[in-house]
């Protein structure tokens, strides 16, 4: 990252539900090719913030630009330029692997020709030839998540949003998944990731920690550990999140 091209920029981004301020004047920047960890306790406002960033929830006030597009007026352009994957929903279980690639390729606006090329390359890379015509439901979770990630970046988005991508995955697959994250980042895709595994926070270039709707800290893992005089990110997290006043 010699030149720091900004791909996510927010200024006082806020979401209120009645009197409740779920995300309170969030201001931060994320740079191109960066792996950015978005941490916070349950109920801190991560999901609310993420929904605004991916263009599916309108902010109450404040400003944000995602991949150069405005979160109020250009939500459709935002969706075309990002990828999204979560633990809860990633692929259609009752479609085959090939069908899922076809469907998502189509949704992301690739041509039939492009889809075909991408599909072959993807199946090759993940070594899924023998499984390609089987239902996604029959794949082990770890494979599903790896496939879902590959599909979420099939249209070469500028940013990939990952919402707890490794929950419930075995420790070896969890690490293989992070190998894929590193590779995507090395190819210039910005990675925005939430996780409850604090060892994974260490793999990020920078992390932010949300407490009660506010970004309480933002820095590199090493910077945060120095600032809070902690041995690990887990310690930093516990220190900050324990100060939370609002229950979930």
């Amino acid at each position: 990252m010699t030149q720091k091209e900004i791909v996510i920029k927010t200024n006082k981004l806020t979401k209120k539900f009645g009197d409740f301020i779920a995300a309170n004047e969030i201001t931060f920047e994320v740079y191109k090719g960066e792996i950015f960890g978005f941490l916070g306790a349950n109920g801190a406002g991560k999901t609310t913030a993420m929904k605004m960033l991916i263009g599916i929830s309108k902010p109450s006030y404040g400003y944000a630009q995602i991949a150069g597009y405005d979160v109020y007026k250009e939500t459709e352009l935002i969706k075309k330029n990002i990828g999204y994957m979560s633990q809860k929903f990633s692929l259609y279980e009752d479609l085959t692997i090939k069908e899922n690639i076809h469907l998502f390729g189509g949704i992301y606006g690739l041509s039939e020709e492009q889809i075909k090329t991408k599909r072959e390359a993807l199946i090759d890379k993940l070594d899924l030839h023998s499984q390609a015509d089987k239902l996604v439901a029959s794949l082990p979770l770890g494979w599903k998540q790896k496939l879902a990630f590959s599909i979420a970046i099939v249209h070469k988005p500028k940013i990939i949003f990952l919402d707890e991508p490794t929950g419930g995955v075995d420790p070896i697959t969890r690490r293989q998944f992070w190998d894929m994250i590193y590779e995507a980042a090395a190819n210039g895709i910005t990675v925005f990731v939430t996780t409850h595994y604090m060892d994974e926070a260490e793999y990020c270039n920078r992390v932010s920690i949300m407490v009660d709707g506010v970004i309480q800290a933002i820095d590199s893992p090493d910077g945060l550990k120095r600032k809070y005089n902690a041995q690990s990110m887990e310690e930093v997290f516990l220190m900050l999140a324990r100060g939370a006043k609002r229950g979930e």
């Binding site: 916070g40 306790a41 349950n42 109920g43 633990q87 029959s138 082990p140 979770l141 770890g142 707890e164 929950g167 419930g168 995955v169 075995d170 420790p171 070896i172 697959t173 690490r175 992070w178 590193y182 090395a186 409850h196 604090m198 060892d199 994974e200 926070a201 260490e202 793999y203 893992p221 690990s232 990110m233 887990e234 997290f237 516990l238 999140a241 324990r242 939370a244 229950g247 979930e248």
Partner: protein, 304 residues
């Protein structure tokens, strides 16, 4: 008396064309008063074991007992003496917090007042929201309500299926504090988790994967069986370091582990490794010996 005893339990699910053996000849027992952990990723067979022990699912083969009651013949007795918190939130979404607790007390012929001391610790955090519908609660509060409902009839054994999955580190810590206090009151706890760091909070654990138990012991004993020197390696460029360590000819295994990479070697050669790292451009690499954790052991067993 054993709190739980499984002998050669097998459970297979038939799919359209194939079948999956979710529990593959599993035997283990849990002592009274113990916190016993089933540790493993999704697909290890943890939930099937819970459902068999709580009499909600029949095994294909083998037998299982809960406090000497057979899971098939004595299912009625078992349902009275166990508390079960399923992995998926299963309370009544359109009843309030208080109505849910009252409902579960009533079906077990008791009242909230009678066993309040057992749940007081947990329930008092929920009391400000007692008129809120359960469906409107956040994840952490749902989890606390579910535990309260599983406890309100004063069970002898608690079955907790992944109670901390998707829960942040602060709430996870609090939840385990609650479990420790319940253990002190003499309740046996069988708990499952995909988080390896929670393993050390159990008295004994079974490490599971794909329907099979890889090992059962105390966390300390499992760590002692690692049998290899483990090194934490750190440098300024961690991603490059991972690839360089994996290319080192005497590397046996190398995994990213938060701020360090964990490394085992085919033979002791740390001086040679230092030279190799220096030659690869890692000027400030550090190599430190460290105690393996459960996650290290789990990965070592997975590779066998």
């Amino acid at each position: 008396m054993k709190a739980v005893e499984l002998k050669n339990i097998v459970k297979t699910y038939a799919l359209k064309k194939s079948s999956v053996t979710a529990v593959d000849d599993v035997s283990f027992s849990v002592e009274e008063g113990e916190i016993f952990g089933l540790i493993g990723p999704d697909g290890a067979g943890k939930t099937s074991i819970f459902r068999i022990l709580t009499t909600l699912l029949l095994a294909d083969k083998g037998n299982a007992k809960v406090l000497c009651n057979d899971v098939v013949k004595d299912w009625k007795t078992i349902r009275d003496i166990v508390g079960y918190m399923p992995g998926r939130f299963s309370l009544y979404q359109d009843l309030t917090v208080e109505e849910n607790l009252d409902f579960f007390a009533t079906i077990f012929n008791t009242t909230i007042q009678e066993n309040y001391d057992l749940v007081a610790d947990i329930y008092k955090q929920l009391e400000p929201f007692k008129t809120r519908r359960a469906g409107k609660l956040s994840g952490g509060m749902k989890q606390k309500l579910a535990l309260s409902c599983a406890l309100i009839h004063k069970p002898k054994i608690l079955f907790l299926d992944e109670p901390t999955t998707g829960v942040d580190p602060v709430s996870r810590k609090e939840f385990w504090e609650i479990l420790k206090r319940l253990k002190k009151q003499g309740i046996t706890i069988l708990v499952s988790t995909p988080y390896m760091d929670e393993a050390k909070l159990c008295d004994r654990i079974a490490l599971m994967q794909k329907g099979k138990i890889m090992t059962i012991d105390t966390p300390e004993a499992i760590v002692n069986q690692f049998g290899k020197n483990l090194y934490a390696v750190h440098s300024e460029s961690m991603f490059k370091l991972l690839n360089d360590l994996r290319s080192f000819t005497k590397t046996e295994s190398c995994f990213a582990f938060g701020e360090n990479h964990h490394l085992t070697l085919k033979e002791e050669c740390t001086t040679e490794l230092e030279k190799y790292l220096l030659a690869s451009g890692h000027n400030n690499a550090t190599i430190k010996k460290l105690e393996p954790g459960i996650e290290d052991c789990f990965m070592q067993l997975m590779k066998k």
